[in-house]
């Protein structure tokens, strides 16, 4: 975009006029994006980024009256490089607000630094419990989900379906482990018994031996955590082993999210719980999905929605403090009072700064993810170990 001299003069005059009010904050607002743009999670990073820029564009590229300047760093989903990348954004680029990442390992490294530097941070995907649990901090908010939220509600769903004996199967890393812990908490509380836990080393995808084991155990249901390529393969293998029609499969929504096409008919009937579904029937969702499709040519997904909400949350809060990021106390208070009509439904922050949101029960029908109900209304993460919750 080229700037003519006249518009430049106009803009300068306008900023002079406004200058008296916003003496401290007329500079551009620098927003850091710590997201994966290469590797397995590149598509997720791109969807979050594109959604953020799309929403920002609709808001005139301004937050609290200040023009947005994006500073993006490819975190490569590599926790080992995370401290250097976070420091680059905070100390080098001097961002006002830091957003990201996708990978929980990167998020943990980021938490260590932003807790000390007090940089205002919005976690846009990573679901690690500690972000709004043991490591929770006043300057850290999350607009995505906690692992607990995606799995705990599924326990009740299964028990309601009369499935009281379950086998658990999961990728043995923090995301899988936290999902399972949350599920077990709900399942045992409701009187369910876990027959066997099968931990599969990440990112292994050879399941045949374990499927034979499940077939011989004959549980009422199987609850799993897999995502991406692993989820695609597991669901296909499960159907191929003839188990789909005998022992129903349940999981957190990541089991089918983004891989439904690859799974094909094998995914039919699977019930999952998640804070979003493509087919959610509400105004903001339809509007956002159409706009995202038009802008990028791709379908929006749960990751894009987190990007969408991040910018809206920031816009609401920064408007309240007239874009003054140096008044951090007021800004945090403004963020805490944000109420959003998100594509995922009503959205607000808990005391630990994790979203309080509906968890939907979804089922794959005719190759499409359909919402068949709300598994838990306004689900709030228990925020174990968070000092901000009394």
């Amino acid at each position: 975009m080229s700037l003519s001299r006249r518009t430049f003069l106009g803009a300068t005059a306008a900023s002079f006029a406004a200058g008296r009010v916003f003496a401290a904050s007329k500079a551009k607002i620098r927003i850091g994006l710590l997201l994966p743009y290469s590797g397995t999670y590149a598509a997720l990073g791109n969807n979050i980024t594109d959604a953020m820029k799309l929403v920002a564009g609709k808001l005139g590229n301004k937050l609290g009256g200040r023009e947005i300047e994006w500073v993006a760093v490819d975190d490569e989903s590599d926790p080992a490089k995370a401290p250097a990348n976070v420091n680059k954004l905070i100390s080098g680029e001097k961002v006002d607000i830091l957003t990201g990442p996708v990978h929980s390992g990167v998020a943990m490294a980021m938490m260590q630094i932003v807790r000390q530097e007090k940089t205002l941070t919005i976690v846009t995907n990573a679901g690690a419990q500690a972000v709004t649990g043991q490591l929770c901090a006043p300057n850290v908010f999350r607009t995505s989900f906690s692992n607990w939220q995606t799995s705990y509600p599924c326990a009740e769903v299964m028990l309601k379906d009369g499935r009281k004996k379950a086998v658990l199967m999961f990728w043995n890393y923090s995301f899988g482990q936290e999902s399972m812990a949350a599920f077990k908490e709900g399942y045992s509380k409701g009187g369910g018994t876990i027959v066997k836990e099968i931990a599969v080393p990440f990112p292994q995808t050879e399941f045949q031996a374990n499927l034979s084991e499940i077939a011989s155990l004959k549980p009422d249901a199987v609850f799993v955590f897999f995502a991406g390529a692993g989820a695609a393969k597991f669901v296909k293998d499960y159907a191929d082993a003839g188990l789909r029609d005998k022992i129903p499969l349940y999981g957190s929504g990541f089991l089918t999210e983004g891989v439904l096409g690859a799974q094909g008919a094998a995914a039919e009937g699977i019930k999952t719980t998640l804070h979003y579904a493509d087919s959610l029937d509400n105004g903001p969702n339809k509007k956002f999905r159409a706009a995202f499709k038009e802008a990028t040519g791709r379908e929006a997904d749960v990751y894009a929605v987190a990007g969408h909400d991040t910018v809206h949350v920031l816009a609401q809060a920064l408007d309240k403090v007239q874009g003054d990021t140096s008044a951090q106390k007021e800004l945090i208070a403004a963020l805490e009072s944000v109420r959003l009509d998100s594509p995922r439904g009503p959205f607000r922050f808990s005391k630990a700064h994790n979203p309080i949101q509906n968890i939907y029960l979804r089922q794959v029908k005719g190759g499409k993810e359909t919402v068949i109900g709300i598994a838990q209304k306004e689900a709030e993460d228990p925020a174990f170990g968070c000092a901000m919750v009394k």
Partner: protein
């Protein structure tokens, strides 16, 4: 473990091993005869799978994908051998690792540019889309039986070629003493080209057969490569028979490791490799 479950797990292990054999046999031949440590071998498997997905999505037939894809990959093998691998015969293993690892990165980028980073499913051919009941609870997809049989047929064909043909004789001679073969006036360059191309085609064929079973995803070649190296080491470098035994052993130990020692399962294969190396340092058939 009940007997029926035990039998089922043996079947699972053998089936997994057979597919691995297709990949590992090419690797062991290239290493044994050409003396080249080929890291890009897993990439050929990955490219085969992506080609299967791409062609099957357009023609609706996995058979067409195999008929078109295997010659394409054999040709690619020939080109790669001429342009890159041929320069490595007189170099040490470090140079070979550097160049072939470079090829891995190149092929991964190629895959990203041509097919994107999404996970794709490949439909099983409709004639094989039924299931065979096994025991009381589980069923086995017919396609798995088909791949197992196909692998056994390929293995038998390879055995015939290697034991009964002139080409096979040269390959065997090359595996035991390449310099001597050259000294006897046989055109080893040509032998090497054909062999490398055949190895590439085998890896690609394995990828194509595996595509409906494993789904197609970025980085699928690397995992197979590591296991194939284990097979080559267990079986003895350059030995097809060794690769066959090694692949079955890896398949079985991986399967039983998962069921009996779940916490230890990913190390199981390597523990078996270490045990074999202690007892038979040159591999099972070395």
């Amino acid at each position: 473990m009940s007997f029926s479950l035990f039998a089922l797990q043996v079947l699972n292990g053998v089936e997994q091993g057979l597919l691995l054999f297709l990949v590992a046999s090419g690797l062991t031949l290239v290493f044994g005869v050409l003396g080249v440590l080929n890291f890009a071998h897993g990439s050929f498997y990955m490219l085969g799978a992506y080609l299967a997905y791409w062609i099957a999505a357009r023609t609706g037939s996995l058979l067409a994908a195999v008929l078109i894809g295997v010659p394409v990959m054999a040709l690619l093998g020939l080109v790669v051998e001429r342009l890159a691998i041929a320069r490595l015969y007189k170099r040490d293993h470090l140079s070979q690792v550097l160049l072939t690892y470079g090829l891995v990165l190149l092929f991964n980028e190629l895959q990203r540019a041509l097919f994107g980073n999404d996970v794709h499913g490949v439909d099983t051919p409709t004639v094989l889309a039924f299931r065979i009941p096994l025991g009381s609870a589980q069923e086995w997809p017919a396609y798995r039986v088909f791949t197992a049989v196909a692998c056994i047929l390929v293995a038998a064909a390879m055995r015939q070629v290697i034991l009964r043909t002139r080409f096979g004789m040269r390959v065997r001679a090359g595996a035991s003493n390449a310099e001597m073969v050259e000294a006897l006036g046989i055109d080893v360059r040509k032998l090497f080209s054909v062999l490398f191309s055949a190895g590439t085609a085998l890896a690609a064929l394995a990828g194509m057969l595996a595509a409906p079973l494993t789904t197609v995803y970025p980085g699928m070649g690397e995992g197979v490569l590591v296991l194939s190296f284990v097979v080559v080491v267990i079986g003895g470098i350059g030995s097809i028979k060794g690769a066959f035994l090694g692949a079955l052993l890896v398949g079985l130990s991986d399967t039983f490791g998962k069921v009996l020692l779940p916490g230890f399962s990913s190390a199981m294969v390597y523990a078996v490799m270490a045990a074999v190396l202690l007892l038979r340092p040159r591999g099972l058939a070395g």
